[in-house]
Amino acid sequence: MVGASGQGVNSIGAIIAKGLKRSGYCVFGYREYPSLIKGGHASYQLDISNQRIRSTETKVNVLIALNHHGLELNMEELKPGGIVLHVTPGWQFPEHHQKLIAERSLRVIYFPVDDILDRLGARAILSNVLLTAFVWSMLDQDLDALKSLVGEKFAKKKALLELNMRCIDEGFSFVDPEQGRISVALPPPDTDFAGHLLITGSQAMGLGAVHAGVRLYAGYPMTPSSPLLSFVAELENKTHMVVKQAEDEITAAQIVSGAMYMGTRALTATSGVGFDLMSETLSLNAMIENPTVFVLAQRPGPATGLPTWTAQSGLLQAANCSAGEFTRCVISVSNSQDAFDLMPVAFNLAEQYQISVIVLTDKQIAEALYTQQPYDLETAEIDRGRLVVDPEKLKLLKSSDRFDPHAKSGVSLRWLPGSEAATYCAQGDEHNSMGAVDESSLNTKSQMEKRLKKFHGLKAGFPAPHLSICGRSATTTDWMDTGDEIELLAIGWGSTGDVLQDVMCSDELRGAEDRLFALHLSLAAPHRRTSEIGHAVETHRPGGAELSGAVGHAHQDGMRHGYPG
């Protein structure tokens, strides 16, 4: 679906996606749009299969153009035998497109949206429903299923509902006068998918955060982190969470820090330069050993860059930005599965080590629509680390327990304001065990070492990166068995992981199953060492897979269980 922003490209995509998913297809929705509200050129691509798919193809079978710009810009993307559906009256294809139509045997259908709308006395906005219904009939799908889907949306608006239903009837029964009825054969459905969710990465992350016990969310809008803010806000009356749109990112980060210091679980998300503004708070949290989780939704380009496009460009920013040195953890989500699963993991790690955890995502994950198995709600644990809440134990505490430099792994006991116990100071200046300022070299050394020591515990607990052979999960033994046979090892992290999986499973690579490996990393810091990855690849040694700070694919490797307790 292509057209201008504001024409409803997304709503057509979303409704067809939901309908097809309910019919038993795995759909993957991918959105592209420029940073403007009306106009420009936007697209919504749906990939449809009866098998698991996790990304988009670059070529398409059907192009639905809501304006002639879409025709001008996207014709090249059609596969041979493809269909062009457009709504531009009297459109004359330029010569090079006529050639393309002939060469690739494309079928062109003009759908007279305006005429039908006139006849129905309906407003232009309903062209989406007309088109959706026509596409629905092309896909040989059930009329009533579409009606009930649209009905759910307008259940409360009777008058609108009736008009929508008439549009569905009209669109569904439209037959092209020249080409007759057109049918696009889909493979047989797999009913398994019918029970799945259709979810964006942002929604998955929001649900994961709520599941993990997050009770306060503060954020400032910045694409591609904004959908997460909107989603938690949308849910606030149901979750009873405190959701706060802050005046800036500094505020959001500080509110979250204050809330975490007090003892709840709180979250913020931002992108690029917004994270720059939060980095002072990151440093502060390291000094006061305050657990926090930041979501960094990466965007390409420095400064404002390319706000609505995707890239994995924030890795070094997340791993390195700070005043001074300290232990932090950077994990990156790869899809809607671990966007959910990694939220409890992030909070557990933050509390276990009393550090900041930065969760990387990007626009691809934030806005892509995934066909997602309902989440497992039984296994995630809430691990609050060395938090003391028992009244008897609280009474035994000394102020100096809070930042005790002798604490094992550098992680000392933590207790919350309001606890009937000895009090302490969460001190941004270098401080002694109870939080009083102490700038002596001896104290500085022991406190710095205490905070850096957490790195070792954190690192030691991570499982090896996930390895797969042509989409199948592999063990390091599989790797060893292949000896020198590895022809291609593709290494990815974050959203590229799923693309790699799809590439490895593609028809083009069939037959090469045993020689193509994908290595996927979800953990970016504590400092990953590229030299170690390189070494592992060069020697093909399974031992090499135990990379410094590298972890396996969360949902397949059981990352949750692999973390240190």
Binding site: H240, I255, T281, L377, P417, T423, Y424, Q427
Partner: protein, 295 residues
């Protein structure tokens, strides 16, 4: 404010900290520090029942000179941190302290939105009319033309009208104290901590080391207790006039208070009727009911 009933009342000594004070002789911070302890004890609060948040500056160096759950953070940022802490646990009084540099320069946006949001916290401004800790630079509250550390020819900017700004933000509590009058400060702080909303408390603070224009003696001669003079804090116009007209005499005391405006937390629809705090609510949630619409 809602803390557990105590059988044993708190003593001033509970707030005693072994960390030595490091302020200059005659610094106004000693007085403010003492008044804070008195106010907390008189409100029947033990150190473990309060959360004291400090900004960076000479005032912030008080963070380890008192007991209580304390936080000492970043320059200019104490208000949002304190607000976050309070929203997480509404049962604990949260008091934030900051200098005039932090409040009206580095963190002025936070102040504006703090008052505007009416967060249920107490904010204590240590106004020594300069940057103390960085050795006497001008703040935006230093009188125009005054020569300071980095402005040998006198600062060119005009002085920020702090109280006009505060009153433009529809505050719900405005008070002013003087570091030389501990009794007055104690009374103000007690009322501020009990206030339901953002309590803005300015403490005029002597800084004998860098402030030679508004000295302890100068302030002593000019300040007066407006409440003792019959000022009614519910009178907005009078409060504003008293707060902003400081040429001849400086009005102190509780200048303005409104208790009928709901504070930030009270306005949160999702929290209405919820008895627990966000801190108590941390657990694993079944989110399947939230994904129904995604199926």
């Amino acid at each position: 404010m809602n803390v557990a009933l105590q059988t044993r009342p708190p003593a001033l000594s509970e707030y005693y900290s072994e960390t030595k004070c490091i302020w200059c002789d005659g610094c106004g911070n000693y007085g403010i520090w003492t008044a804070v302890k008195y106010a907390l004890v008189e409100l029947n609060l033990h150190p473990w029942q309060v959360c004291l948040c400090y900004d960076v500056g000479c005032n912030g160096n008080g963070s380890d000179k008192i007991e209580g759950y304390r936080f000492h953070g970043l320059h200019g940022r104490v208000i949002p941190f304190a607000a976050g802490a309070k929203l997480a646990n509404m049962r604990i009084p949260v008091i934030a302290f900051a200098g005039d540099g932090a409040t009206f320069s580095e963190g002025i946006g936070h102040l504006i939105h703090g008052v505007r949001s009416n967060y249920p916290i107490t904010f204590v401004l240590h106004n020594n009319t300069n940057y103390g800790l960085t050795t006497g630079q001008a703040s935006s509250l230093t009188p125009q033309g005054q020569s300071m550390n980095t402005s040998p020819n006198g600062i060119p900017e005009h002085t920020l009208a702090s109280m006009e700004l505060i009153f433009s933000l529809n505050p719900t509590f405005v008070a002013r104290g003087f570091s030389g009058d501990i009794k007055l400060m104690t009374r103000i702080l007690k009322a501020a901590i009990q206030h339901r909303g953002f309590a803005f408390v300015e403490m005029l603070q002597a800084c004998p080391t860098y402030n030679h224009f508004a000295t302890h003696e100068y302030l002593l001669n000019k300040y007066f207790d407006a409440n003792a003079d019959g000022h009614d804090p519910s009178n907005l116009q009078q409060a504003k006039a008293l707060a902003t007209q400081v040429q001849d005499r400086i009005a102190c005391g509780i200048l303005y208070q409104r208790g009928d405006i709901p504070h930030f937390y009270d306005r949160l629809i999702p929290r209405q009727g919820v008895e627990t705090t966000c801190v108590e609510e941390v657990r694993r949630y079944d989110v399947s009911k939230y994904w129904k619409e995604l199926a």
